[in-house]
């Protein structure tokens, strides 16, 4: 069918000079682009060693992430949110494929440890070097040439989680006073009512609306906050679960910024909420997260943790990873297989009190 049968006028005639000149212009061969094959080849000496510390993690036969070896005995760190229920296998640079098992996870930073039966793997070497803007960063895979390269765009900073809500509208009053409770969100379920004044979040006093919103900004979807609430003369605590708002939509259900963000590739399901992350301009695919981020000397300065948008990928800096990995390892020691599911799922939280 030809659905395009309108008498329509476009701006084409008006812009034809630009078009003509553009058509005349030459184009750079794709292999010479920043992430083109020829350019990537120049980086292979930086990635050659590291690739033996990297695995591809398959979930039911589909590669969902890369993993980085942190212990010769088969402990591998990866991006937690990509590891879902199913059959896990790891493919090494040597092309060996080994069954894997999830043994620990840290949902705050979206990392997990998987274990494979192996003895003499090469752990990655982390260097706690401060990433400086403009420096090359290399994202290796299991091949000789890296998956992609880029530069550091922004120094390390905290990445707030995706905005989750308790679900209230506040008045402009000097205190955080509720004027309306949104249907279907946490505040309603917790029984908050218009007129209630919120005094504290998780025992931290808040004075006004701005302080309340700023405090809540640090909580993720699914987390529960304890609110101290004043209703007329009484005070009480309410547990409110943070939830995501309805997706913001624009004209005819069209979210422009969101759509722009996805122009040129998919982004990670979990792309927000990290204690500290380096932003770099490497064009990664979501499955290319979980691998290390190298400097030109082939040293791991971070771990790719998210493809966050058209212009941004995030990596957890090595200094932060040192702590995270220690905690994860401690988790594996404490946890017997039976307790594992419970202990490793902090996302599962009790229903808020009514």
């Amino acid at each position: 069918m030809l659905p395009l049968l309108l008498i329509a006028v476009s701006v084409l005639t008006k812009t034809s000079p630009a078009q003509n000149s553009a058509n005349r212009s030459a184009t750079l061969g794709e292999d010479r682009f920043k992430s083109g094959a020829l350019t990537l080849a120049a980086f292979s000496s930086a990635t050659d060693a590291a690739r033996h510390s990297i695995v591809r993690i398959d979930l039911d036969g589909k590669t969902v992430a890369l993993g980085t070896v942190v212990e010769a005995s088969g402990l591998i760190i990866t991006k937690a949110s990509e590891i879902k229920d199913g059959k896990l296998t790891c493919k090494l640079a040597s092309n060996t494929e080994i069954d894997a098992e999830l043994v620990a996870r840290d949902d705050d930073n979206d990392v997990a440890l998987v274990k494979i039966k192996a003895t003499s793997l090469t752990p990655i070497k982390w260097v706690s070097e401060e990433a400086s803007v403009g420096q090359w960063v290399v994202s290796p895979g299991t091949e000789k040439t890296p998956e992609a390269v880029g530069i550091v765009s922004v120094p390390p900073r905290k990445i707030l989680p995706k905005r989750a809500l308790i679900g209230v509208l506040l008045t402009n009053a000097a205190v955080a006073k509720i004027v309306e409770v949104t249907e279907g969100l946490g505040a309603e379920k917790a029984g908050l009512k218009p007129g209630d004044i919120i005094l504290a979040v998780n025992d931290t006093k808040i004075k006004n609306r701005d302080e309340l919103t700023a405090t809540l900004r640090h909580f993720r979807e699914g987390q529960t906050v304890k609110l101290r609430v004043q209703r007329e003369t009484e005070e009480f605590d309410a547990s409110v679960r943070m939830m995501l708002p309805k997706p913001e939509t624009g004209f005819r259900g069209f979210n422009r910024q969101e759509r722009m963000n996805r122009l040129g590739g998919e982004i990670s399901q979990r792309a927000e909420g990290f204690e500290l992350a380096v932003q770099h301009d490497t064009v990664l695919q979501p499955w290319q997260c979980g691998g290390p981020l190298l400097n030109l000397d082939g040293q791991a300065i971070g771990l790719n943790i998210a493809r966050a948008g058209r212009v941004a990928s995030y990596a957890l800096p090595a200094a932060l990873l040192a702590h995270i990995i220690d905690d994860l390892k401690a988790q594996t020691r404490k946890t017997t297989p039976d307790e594992k599911t419970e202990k490793t799922s902090p996302q599962v939280e009790p229903e808020p009190d009514k």
Binding site: L4, L5, L6, I7, A8, V9, S10, V11, L12, K14, T15, A18, Q19, S21, A22, R24, S25, A26, T27, L28, E30, D31, F33, K34, L38, T39, A42, F43, S132, V133, G134, W136, I151, S153, V154, K158, R163, L165, T182, T213, K246, E248, T249, G250, F251, R252, F254, R256, Q257, R259, N261, L263, G264, G265, Q279, D281, V283, G309, R310, V311
Partner: protein
Amino acid sequence: MRTWFCNTTAKSLDASVLITSVHNDGTRPARFTQALPPPKHAGAAMLAAFGLLAALLPSATLSAKESPTARQPSNQRSEPSSTSNRRFHGEFLPLRQETRKVETVLRLLFQDAKETPNETFTPTEPAPAPTPPPTRRTDLPRAFRKDTPGSLDDLKAIEEHVKKVVARVSSSVVAVEVQGGSGSGVVITEDGLVLCAAHVCDSPDLDVLFTFPDGKTAKGKTLGTNHEMDAGLMRITDKGHWSHVDIGDIDRTRLGDWVLALGHPGGFDPQRSMVVRLGRIIRLASDMMQTDCTLIGGDSGGPLFDMHGRVVGIHSRISNSTAANFHVSIAAFQETWGRLAKGDDWGRPVQEVWVGAWGLDHPEGCRLEIVNKNGPGERAGLKVGDVVTKFNGHELKGIEMFKQSVTRTKPGQKVTLDIKRDEMELSVQVTVEPRRGFGGGRFGP
């Protein structure tokens, strides 16, 4: 599906929409982008017939406090653009209200443009065109003169140099806020001339809030806007000696040159500030260039630097591929510098209009094959099979002429079509309407 966006972002989280560059009241659009040639690999011939998607409007219906510019009378502007902007904003009011209901926290990200009397701005004679200082390619490390970096040493040389350039130019890159929309810009003179994109400037003599990477702000005005090229100029009107950079020499710019894109994707974020990206010039024309420095909304108007640290382009728009990032060439600014500095406003695209009918050539004019459901033509009584013989009394010679005649009609204007239908001769009045429905793929019969 091919989509073109301008890289501006609306002030609030709930704000931006993509629409066509049309106005329901027949005045010129508030914001738009013009069509650019598609990159070779962007497919979808389907949409090609329609030209390209255009125009972004911040739908934010700003309160008077948030947007002091919107209601201020303008003594230099001949068109009632601020009125029409308001009207356009108002049209999207429901969207904003809907999102506001969800939470009260949707503010932030941008500094409030506080209303203060504009005492510092005195119109002076147009600033002289800046000239690029002499540069030699041999000033750069050898690695930049190679087709592709060939070794780790080349890469290290590039890295070292890129870091130096970033350190030198960063302080001259600004976030700009005009009429509730935000973009980026770059200061090129000590007294505060700022290069930007026309679709961020919108039109001359609007209030601008500049934010430097360290968070300091300054006030200013938009000067000229060349919408044909998407080149715009602004001036910081606060007194000061502003950190600035030189413009580059386009005659010495080559395909494959390494370039740095700086800007504020998503708008100014105090926790993050500016974002730096590296790439190469992958297409070079007289007035535009394409790079693989990824851009997104909010980058619009921001600078593209060559490896001498000089501005060679201004971010303008993007398309599907991450390698499809388009920049207005610095040459486009130089060519029309006089008009930009004087505060001219020109080159806005023809509005997209239609009557909602399509046909084939016919010996007596044009035989309609399709009449769009609920289109202006159908409502006026046009039917499939009608032969349109005259357009406002002028004989039609085929569909092309019919199309062109519609093109030249202003939206909202009534035209008279002479029609032959089963030996009957009729005269039908049709209102030419702005064509809507881009973005959702909802147009067509």
